[in-house]
Every structure is written in structure tokens, then in C-alpha cells.
Amino acid sequence: MPEAAHRELTFAQAVREALAEEMRRDSRVCIFGEDVAEAGTPFKVLSGLVEEFGTERVVDTPISEAGFTGLAVGAAMTGLRPVVDIMFGDFITLTMDQMANQAAKVHYMSGGKWKVPMVMRTTLGATRRSAAQHSQSLHAWFSHVPGLKVVLPSTPYDAKGLLKTAIRDENPVVFFEDKMMHHKLKGPVPSEEYTIPFGVADVKRAGSDITLVATSSMVQVALGAAALLEAAGISAEVIDPRTTWPLDEASLIESARKTSRVIVMDEGYGRYGVTAEIAAVIAEGAFYDLDAPVKRMGAMHVPIPFSPPLEDATVPTEQSVFEAAQALCGRS
């Protein structure tokens, strides 16, 4: 991160700034979604954009996730660069055909002739007391689909730089925001222009005894656990792949080979999910250097319950990661 970055923005502000800058830069960029205009989304992430860019470019839609995602695919093919807002990540269920069968395949099926430069912004993450249909982290589904790219920013800095890259990309990109971060997480964001390339993992904290691979909401948890571990004399490296596709396998493997112990953390379900892929990649790539099996921590494999004490039990915490890391290092 550049030295000059003295400005602190919330995650939501960083997202908004990325959108505003790209919309100024390129008149083809437009936004579609439910209550994105005057309301600025229920999460108030887009507040102010319609005032600057008008309802022609910040377009309120009916509750038609499949319909307006499909529309965005066609608009992207024919000269616009749509950014589609799917309020809760749980609603991507309704867009799977448009994304997986259309957006992801148009370029390939047409022999490279048509392109679909669109972005879907959506959310992930539990602990918001929103229950099973408003708390899922389903990014593994899209990560499974060739033709899509999947971005999981974990800081305001990353959010801004990665979203700008997403908007400039010639492919369909899905951008998942942890809704708990929007207004709660602040961080430095330089005022000068920057972008962050896809497929480049970021070491959020260097360490030597154990690697915590963490995505999105789990990065802060990993950093908290790393602080606890430090106090216990264990040096944890926290590395964030930032994009699940493309995936920076080399950096993850390198960190694993260095520390020889790994926990992979992701708020999605682990089973057939992101931690499975990353654990498999590391177990293969660092096979001869690992001192212990790669451990995976994700959402408990249950629909997210509403009741607070139950919900809190479903997500890895600093404490649970700390304990798992200690155990892995033979310290518990």
C-alpha cells in the first residue's frame, strides 16, 4: 500500500468511490439493481451515485434478479459495462442460469466473438440475525464455473482496487462484499488512482510458524487470531487470495511451504467449497513441506439459524481459530 495513504474510508465508501470513479471515466458503466438509485441500496452502499449519474445510469429494477442479470448480459455484449447489484448473496440462486449458462459461456461458445464485460456485486456473511435465506456465502458456486472470475475483497483498500479492476475486465466478474464490513470496517485508501490485479494473493500479516489462508470476512478473524497467537508465542502469517478465480496458487503454496502448517478459512460452507479447493491445492503443492494436515474452517454445515447463540456458533471466531492453530502447532 502506498505511503501516502492517510485517508481512511469505510468498506462501503471504498466501493462507492470505485464505482463513481469508473462511472466518470467510462460512460458505458451503469448500475442495475433493486433500490440502487434514490435509496442507494438497503445497505446504503451506493448513496449519492444517482445524484451524480442520474437514473439513466443508476437504474432501479423490479425484484427480478434473473431478468435484470440477463439484461445485463445482453447489455454487456452490445457496448455497455453493467454492474449488477444483487442485494443479498442468497439471491444469486435466481441468477445461476444467467450467470453460469449465459454470461460465463457466451465468449467461449461464440468462438471468442462476443464478450460479456459485466460485474455482479453481491454480499456474503452471517451474524447479522437475518436467518437462513439472508446469510449465505455462496461464492463457491461461481468459483466452480469456468468463464467467471470471483473476487472477495477483505479491506476497503482491496475493495476499491479490485472493483475497479473488475469493471475494466472484459469478462463477467462476481464481486462479493461482506455485508458486516460495509460500515464497520475502516481502512486506508489512497486518493490517487490505483487498481489491483486479479490472481495476486496479499500477505496481510507476515509470520513463520503457521499460515492462515483467509478470505473476505475471515481475514479480520484471522488477524485477530494471529494477535492472540503472537501473545502465545506463535507467529502466524495471514494470506488473503483476494480472488478465488483466478487463484494465486503459487503464493499460497509458498507460504505453506515456509510455515509448514496451514489453516484455510472462508465463511462459505467448507464442504465442496472454497476451503476444499484451497486445502487441496496446498496439500498437493506443499506436500513435502507440511508438518500437519491442512485444516479447514468455514461455516458450520447447517442453514444459518436466526437465534443469536446458535448463529454465533456457526462461524469461525478469533478464539476458535486461535485454538485450532495452537492445536495444529502442537500447543494445546
Binding site: A39, I63, L94, A131, Q133
Partner: protein, 332 residues
């Protein structure tokens, strides 16, 4: 004013009791929601809730036309439907607070109340998420020859979801006993429905061959008479119907939606409350007809009020589910 012809039962003794019962139920819903808002304001309720106040005549007018074993499906704004179908306030509050005594043992919360004992197939937090379920329940009723009817409640926002049209087509093809009840309260979150709904709402049902009408959703007598007719039709095998109830929500989209002047005026809200309040409208008629007077109304209100306060107390005192419950009931 509606004439006796519209309210054929208006002069029999039984029907007066029935209207009074509906009056009481509408009051119950109104005061239930007041308590919910209070729980939110006092930070005693986890998460958010979507209040039904203002729309009571729809749930009550329709559910009173149903048998106890008839089915309903409900929405994120579901408290009114659940109560009107027979749910008891104490277990509903318990659910809203995530307590084990709740209808779903705290796992569902405000948006997922379900109860086989009252034919409640479940509130649903996906807009239009339960239209398939209601249609399937009607299919079962027809196949199993139980003579049950299913009512599918949804907001006009659900008109944006294609699956609604898919299942209306199925219901009409197979003459299923299901009533699709569109509660047009003018807003989908923070957007007026006219900005998201092209053409004519009733025509959308009619286009698929369904018997389709629209009614004043603030007049419980009209709603109830119409529902009785449509339910009878369905029960006798004459097929599904589409009923648009024109109504209004008094509060914000959810309890946290306080400043809403950017999408609707205080005057508009005031007008509905003073001129089109469903409880007042029924009360006025009952008074005019000399079926009841303010003494009776006052006693209903105070009875219901203390019932609700007791129910809230019960819920606050009730324990949370034990942590092991989190992994229970993922599979049957």
C-alpha cells in the same frame, strides 16, 4: 359505502360475531406489531422485522374464509398472516427473539414462522419464494382429495419474479385449489410499484387464465366476501384465482426504516391512516349498524393489549435453545 348485497351475511347474528371476531383479530395484529416495534426500539429483538400494520384487513379477511386445515404461505411481512391463521402471540414473540419456545425453536425468526398445526407452510424471506410451495400444497390437496385450499400471500414486489407466472400457469392447467393474493401496498422496499410494474396487475393473473379480481384491501368485509367466494370456487374444483388487495403499510419497509420522506410523504401516510384504516372502517360500520359501540371496542383493545404484553413477557423470559441445537434438524 358498500351495500347489503355485497355483505349478504351482514344481518344475521352469527355474522355479527364473525365481524367482531375479525375486528379483534385486526386489533391483535396491530398491537402485536406495536410490541415488535417496541422490542426493536428497546434493542431486545435481534435483527429486523417488517410490520404488517395497516394491512390487517387482508390477512384477516382472507384467513377467516379458510378452514383451520387450509394452507397458507407467507412472506417477510408475515406476522399478520400467521396470527390471522391462528398462531399464538407468545410463541411468535418467542420466535422473534430467537427463543426455544418459538414456533421454529428460534431457528427461523420473524421471516420464517411456520406451523403445521395452523396450516402455515411458512413465511419466506425470498420474494415470491413460497409461490411454488403454495401451489404444491394445492396439488397435494387435489391429489389426496382433502378439499383443502391453499392461499399464497405475497407483496406486489413478487410480481417481478418469473416463478410466479410459472406456477400460475401450472395451477390453471391443473385446476389447483390455490388463491394467489397480491398485497399491493404500493411499495417494494423504497420504490413505488408504478416504477417496477408495467401493464395491469389483474391482467397478469387473467393472462394465465386465472379468475382474477382486485379489491379494496382496507375493507375487511369486501376482502372477506371476495375471499369466501374464491375459496369456495377453488374448493369445488373450479380452479385457482388471483386476488389483488389494494392496501398500505403504515410503517417503514422494516422497523429500522424511519426516515422515508425521500420515497413517500408523511401526508400520504397520514391520509391512509386517517381515512383508510381497516380497523376504524370496520368499527365505524359496526357502530353505524348498531352492532357494537366504543365501549366494546375499548374493551377489545385493552384485552388484546394485556394479552400482548403477557405474550411479550413470556418471550423475554423464555430461554434460548441450547447450543447443541444448532446441528439438529438439518436433516429429517
Amino acid at each position: 359505502m358498500t351495500t347489503a348485497a355485497h355483505h349478504p351475511e351482514a344481518d344475521s347474528k352469527i355474522s355479527v360475531e364473525h365481524w367482531l371476531r375479525m375486528y379483534r383479530q385486526m386489533v391483535s395484529i396491530r398491537l402485536f406489531e406495536e410490541q415488535v416495534n417496541e422490542l426493536y426500539t428497546r434493542a431486545l429483538m435481534p435483527g429486523l422485522a417488517h410490520l404488517y400494520a395497516g394491512e390487517e384487513a387482508v390477512a384477516v379477511g382472507i384467513c377467516e374464509a379458510l378452514r383451520p386445515d387450509d394452507y397458507i404461505t407467507s412472506t417477510h411481512r408475515g406476522h399478520g398472516h400467521c396470527l390471522a391463521k391462528g398462531a399464538s402471540p407468545d410463541r411468535m414473540f418467542a420466535e422473534l427473539l430467537g427463543k426455544e419456545a418459538g414456533y421454529c425453536r428460534g431457528k427461523g425468526g420473524s421471516m420464517h414462522i411456520a406451523d403445521p398445526a395452523t396450516g402455515n407452510l411458512g413465511a419466506n424471506a425470498i420474494v415470491a419464494g413460497s409461490v411454488g410451495i403454495a401451489t404444491g400444497a394445492a396439488f397435494s390437496a387435489k391429489r389426496l382429495g382433502t378439499n383443502q385450499v391453499a392461499v399464497c400471500f405475497f407483496g406486489e414486489g413478487a410480481l417481478g419474479q418469473g416463478v410466479l407466472y410459472e406456477v400460475m400457469n401450472l395451477a390453471q392447467l391443473w385446476k389447483l385449489p390455490v388463491i394467489y393474493v397480491c398485497e399491493n401496498n404500493l411499495y417494494t422496499e423504497y420504490t413505488h410499484y408504478s416504477e417496477t410494474t408495467a401493464g395491469d396487475i389483474v391482467a397478469r393473473g387473467a393472462a394465465f387464465g386465472l379468475h382474477a379480481e382486485s379489491v379494496d384491501g382496507q375493507d375487511v368485509r369486501v376482502v372477506h366476501d371476495t375471499a369466501t367466494r374464491l375459496v369456495e370456487r377453488a374448493r369445488q374444483g373450479q380452479g385457482p384465482a388471483f386476488l389483488c388487495c389494494n392496501t398500505y403499510r403504515y410503517s417503514g419497509h422494516h422497523v429500522g426504516d424511519i426516515n422515508r420522506e425521500y420515497y413517500r410523504s408523511k401526508q400520504e401516510e397520514q391520509r391512509w391512516k386517517s381515512e383508510r384504516d381497516p380497523i376504524k372502517l370496520l368499527g365505524d360500520w359496526l357502530s353505524q349498524q348498531k352492532f357494537a359501540d366504543s365501549v366494546l371496542f375499548d374493551s377489545i383493545h385493552s384485552q388484546v393489549k394485556s394479552e400482548m404484553e403477557k405474550a411479550v413477557k413470556f418471550a423475554i423470559a423464555a430461554p434460548y435453545p441450547s447450543p447443541e441445537e444448532v446441528e439438529q434438524d438439518v436433516y429429517a
